[in-house]
Symmetry: C2
Subunit: 404 residues, 2 copies
């Protein structure tokens, strides 16, 4: 017997027939003798409609009222799924954030879960009841409904699993797991059976949009085992878990990419103390996130400084530099046609040569590396966007990730 | 300065532009120096959609889950109206039933309001805040959302007015008040400035579908002054109030009609003790409501018994009589082509001749009266449906109700 939290996203509960399909999946888990709690997103399209209403009413609406409006989507799904489960003979009931309660902070519209009072739910699960919890929401210190921001239902699921001391949190989605790289680009990409929290965080934040970053952080913090799997098939998915649980560690687990960055180069910046602060201070003040940064050694008292920002922030970043920068420089160059490719694996902590394999593989294909940045478990390079597919395929083969 | 509860129905909040229109009406009331609380229905069509989802999922769904689903419609409107009011500079916030709380009994799907804890709302109104309350719902003893049944938003408004000790409850709807009779049939029908609770109850239950019967009963019980008016014009409406507040009482306030009844006649029923019980007992057991009843004096030990039931119940009623009736009778006759026309007015308590005027007027037009029933403040007759318009116009003139 295991205690399991199951989470179903918007496309999985997109209409009545799909909610009935979800009910069958939940019943199957109950029939296996498990204690089950479920959390659901709004039916696909519903949240967008509600957000649109708020925006039409006022572009700068009160986040507390936005929450009151937008949270109703998940409330509807939780009630409907409870009915569908009862129809199959499963003892189920819906729960809203204020009833459990799921306690959040007061950051309406992007609240964080502070605590989940799981005792009553555990008692009921032990008696065979299946709680169906409205995802994406809780109740704030002001006794008003607070939503967790986009993707918040994943966070609800993981927090619920932690609060209920569940053995596993199953996130049902429209993909059947985490792949070594994007299978739409690399046909030989393999589904991973297991991946560590740290690797999943890198994969998630780098554009493998399977799990919300915050939910992975929370899973790592509370050591919640998370399984990503498809609601439209019965195949096992990918388990996100502690490194200790993975016996055969691969050197490299996956290759991620992100087309969301743009490159800015300041040519011939005066190389004097405080330059970096003079550039990145104003960008930070303007709430612009800088990702990769490279500064070459000085020549003739000047240096070239390259960094990346989100593509959506590029114009704002250039304006900030032109208006606020008091450090002398010759010219600015900006380039949107770049992609960040990252090789990720906890195995590289103990193995040298991972970066070298990457550089050599790209060089062999004639791909120029523009910027490099590394962390303990990843190596990222910025290259011209045109080479995305070529680079991913070559690296996938170089690290022996291709499916047999 | 007055304290006012304003209620807006589904068509009044049917889209974003209409909610903005409602916000302007609320602001105008605030600008007049009044303390204002608002309650709203779901946007038109939304409740039907949610009910349909529940029915699709299971024709016999759990009423508690139905409530969780269906109550979201009003929650959306309350949040959107709060945003619209803030956009106009009005200090507003939305409230859901569980937050105030509006306490109901546990009859999910058709709950009754037991109590409204109005203290916090009154404190905030005194500071200039406008509460926007989701109509149609409260929280039951099981700490779950309970809805009040169809038309429940009117009841919420009246209960809120009682709980907040409001001077008036304004019910905004798509008609501009209560008329002496149906203006679609009688062009000279006049809007009434005032009408008593008792008269309004008769008008409402007889088919003048302006106010939900239950809300009028509640208004009468708590002596809440209710004004019915249009959300699409600025004209004053009709005030439903205590008799004492109406200085110039008309003998007859209005003429109502209902096409929802059907007539059943049992011919030559054996006239013996227990006959009525033998007939109406089985009908009551089958949950069939009987309205008018007439029994003639006995001839040769038999009598004719005529009564009316709802048109929708006619076939069921005939079956019950054929199967369950142990009293001897010759034949049954049934007639759906009937209309009940009622003359209503508290003035008739102290004036004779009201019924006589009705009978004479109908006789003059050659209209045969099939059944008569009377109460303290109304006289109802059953006539052939074809004569509906003729009867209404003739009676409207006979009681001097025609507009100048």
């Amino acid at each position: 017997m295991a205690r399991i939290v199951m989470k179903f996203g918007g496309t999985s509960v997109g209409d009545i027939a799909r909610i009935q399909n979800v009910a069958r999946k939940v019943k199957a888990e109950v029939d296996r003798g498990n204690q089950v709690a479920v959390t659901v997103s709004a039916m696909s399209g519903v949240t967008n409609q509600l957000v649109d209403y708020c925006t039409q009413m006022s572009p700068l609406h009160d986040a507390r009222e936005y929450d009151a409006v937008v949270a109703t989507g998940e409330q509807v799904t939780s009630g409907l799924l409870a009915i569908a489960l009862q129809e199959l003979g499963v003892n189920a009931r819906s729960w809203q954030g204020w009833q459990i309660p799921i306690i959040t902070d007061d950051a309406h519209g992007k609240a964080r879960i502070v605590d989940i009072k799981g005792e009553e739910l555990i008692r009921r699960m032990e008696r065979g009841e299946v709680p169906v919890v409205a995802g994406f929401q809780g109740v704030g210190p002001d006794n008003r409904t607070a939503t967790l921001g986009r993707g918040g239902s994943d966070t609800t699921a993981v927090a619920l699993a932690a609060g209920l001391k569940a053995d596993r949190c199953d996130i049902y989605t429209d993909v059947d797991g985490v792949y070594t790289t994007d299978p739409r680009i690399v046909k030989t990409a393999k589904k991973l059976n297991k991946i560590t929290y740290e690797e999943m965080l890198e994969m998630a934040s780098l554009g493998a949009k399977v799990l919300q970053t915050r939910s992975v952080e929370m899973a790592m913090k509370h050591r919640v085992r998370v399984q990503v799997l498809s609601s439209f098939s019965d195949a096992p998915g990918t388990l996100v878990c502690d490194e200790d649980e993975i016996v055969e560690k691969e050197l490299v687990s996956g290759i991620a990419y992100s087309r969301d960055e743009a490159k800015i180069t300041l040519v011939s910046v005066s190389d004097q103390p405080g330059v970096a602060a003079g550039i990145f201070g104003p960008l930070a003040d303007a709430n612009i996130n800088v990702d990769m940064i490279v500064q070459n050694v000085s020549r003739d008292g000047t240096t070239d400084l390259t960094f990346t920002v989100g593509k959506a922030d590029l114009d704002r970043a250039l304006n900030v530099i032109k208006e606020k920068l008091h450090v002398p420089y010759k010219t600015i160059m900006a380039d949107k046609n770049v992609v960040k490719v990252s090789v990720i694996g906890v195995g590289m902590r103990s193995h040298a040569g991972v970066a070298q394999t990457m550089f050599k593989t790209l060089a062999d294909k004639g791909i120029n590396i523009q910027v490099i940045s590394t962390s303990e478990i990843k190596v990222s390079v910025l290259i011209a966007e045109d080479y995305t597919e070529l680079a991913l395929r070559a690296l996938h083969t170089a690290y022996n990730l291709d499916a047999a």
